[in-house]
Amino acid sequence: MARYDRAITVFSPDGKLFQIDYAFEAVKKASAVVAVRAADTVILGVERKTIAKLQDPRTIRKIVKLDTHATLAFAGLNADARVLIEKTRIECQSYRLTCEDAPSLEYIARFIARTQQRYTQRGGVRPFGVSSILAGFNTDGAPQIYQIDPSGTYFGWKANAIGGRNFKGMREFLEKEWQEGLSQAEATKLTVKALLEVVDSGSKNMELVVIRRGEPAATMSDESVQAVVDQVEAEMEEAKTRGGSASGGASSATAMET
């Protein structure tokens, strides 16, 4: 099999493109990203890996703005992501110039997917080692999440997790806990809970962004994130001491001001 994993343009006998699989591995090595679709908001959460003491944390951005209405969080090789984001930003503006209108989220997702696919079918290049989650709103006002893979496929999701050492586990957790019509507070708690599966507790290890319809994406302050983390941990403690099953994500009595 080793003979088939050098060039991207070569299939293996059992129909795999090894370079794409290895690109997925690169994504797994990166920090986790969680996205949850609520009734009228989208919550994006990323794991903040520990950085060197002397590094300026403000220059490390995993959640970026593609256009006024579209936000992207990626997992994978930072440099590849930077190039992909730049191409996508230009395409958004080009669309605005030609069609005099904002590009739909599906159009942006399709563009990213098309770009990533192009790099899987040419000689001399390798795929982008980046998985992205695109978040925003539809023209009819519905919140949307799209995931785009290194293979160039894109799907819409209700809630998703990529990257990190246990994204499958996070995804299963979300499958169990996600419900239609979550409020912003419930969705925020769910995102934090999913992230706590892979990160150590503490607001300094995660970054959350709230995207509301018609407003620019807003990063939650450390204090508000810490408050949600505290609340989640309190609930988990309560559940443990009671000895019953862990409380569901949406059944919170107290409403959170965020």
Binding site: C99, D101, E106
Partner: protein, 311 residues
């Protein structure tokens, strides 16, 4: 390859100017002008390059193998009333088209005469091009240019629809056409068209022409008879016309233009752009309209006289 190519161009240029009748130049010009039969391209060294160009992407044109193709096209294939009577190719043109937006949508009204120099080529030209069931384009200037590029626009609109699962906006459609015109700027295309439809933002009307001018507006008239149409339109246009009044205004403006402009005539074709698409209202022979309006005028004059007499 480079020196040979230059030589070809120079010889072609000389042939075009009638300065050289060398065998080589003749062959080159034949190869350039022979767009009919494929001929034996493999033999001709220049031919293989030309063949490539002609069988290439459908949106690219073969251009004359002269030093300045743009100037050559403009000089020998220009489109102008009276100015092209000496040319070998006289394009079909001459038109009055108009469109205006009002409370009930958009009225598009056109004539149907096509003239080549002083010769009336046709009196039954369809100058409203149905790009798709909710977009209309009009034809003014070179008939072939309009028909071709608006059909091309129809193809682009359809691709947009398939890719994005929603109809294209009128703004975007007119922008695509204008961008195409910009690509061919200076090559002597002649097209003055109005792209109109009803999209998410309501009824929209854009004017696009061959030098990629693109204007958004409520009322436009394009063509050799446009000045006459503007006179009638401007004196009677109001945004709150009823649908019947608007249709009548569209008919009248075209009639008056065809009455005075030699290059316009035939029948008036009128379309109404509504929320769910366009509808063809009808066709009226402008000669019949002449007598109809003449009768109206007489009756009105008679009534006025009576009024004066009785008051």
């Amino acid at each position: 390859m480079a020196p040979r190519k230059e030589n070809t161009e120079r010889k072609a240029f000389q042939y075009a100017r009638g300065m050289s009748r060398s065998k080589e130049a003749e062959r080159t010009m034949e190869a350039v002008l022979d767009t009919g039969g494929r001929g034996d391209w493999k033999q001709d060294a220049y031919g293989s390059e030309l063949a490539q160009a002609m069988c290439a992407h459908p949106r690219s044109f073969t251009i004359p193998a002269v030093p300045d193709p743009a100037a050559y096209c403009k000089q020998n294939f220009g489109v102008g009333y009276g100015t092209d009577t000496e040319q070998a190719v006289q394009f079909a043109k001459g038109t009055t088209t108009l469109a205006f937006k009002f409370q009930g949508g958009i009225i598009v009204s056109v004539d149907s005469r096509s003239t080549m120099g002083p010769y009336i080529a046709s009196g039954t030209v369809k100058k409203v091009i149905e790009i798709n069931p909710y977009l209309l384009g009009t034809m003014a200037g070179g008939a072939a240019d309009c028909a071709f590029w608006e059909r091309n626009l129809g193809m682009q609109c359809r691709l947009y629809e398939l890719r994005n699962k929603e109809r294209i906006s009128v703004a975007a459609a007119s922008k695509l056409l204008a961008n195409t015109m910009f690509q061919y700027r200076g090559y002597g295309l002649s097209m003055g068209t109005m792209v109109t439809g009803w999209d998410r933002t309501g009824p929209q009307l854009y004017y696009v022409d061959n030098d990629a001018t693109r204007l958004h507006g409520n009322l436009f008239s394009v063509g050799s008879g446009s000045t006459y149409a503007y006179g009638v339109l401007d004196s009677r246009y109001r945004y709150d016309l009823t649908v019947e009044e608007a249709i009548d205004l569209g008919k009248r403006a075209i009639y008056h233009a065809t009455h005075r402009d030699a290059y316009s005539g035939g029948t008036c074709n009128l379309y109404h752009v509504q929320e769910n698409g366009w509808v063809k209202i009808g066709s009226w022979d402008v000669n019949e309209l002449h007598y109809l309006y003449a009768d109206e005028k007489e009756n009105a004059a008679g009534a006025a006289e009576e009024k004066v007499a009785s008051s």
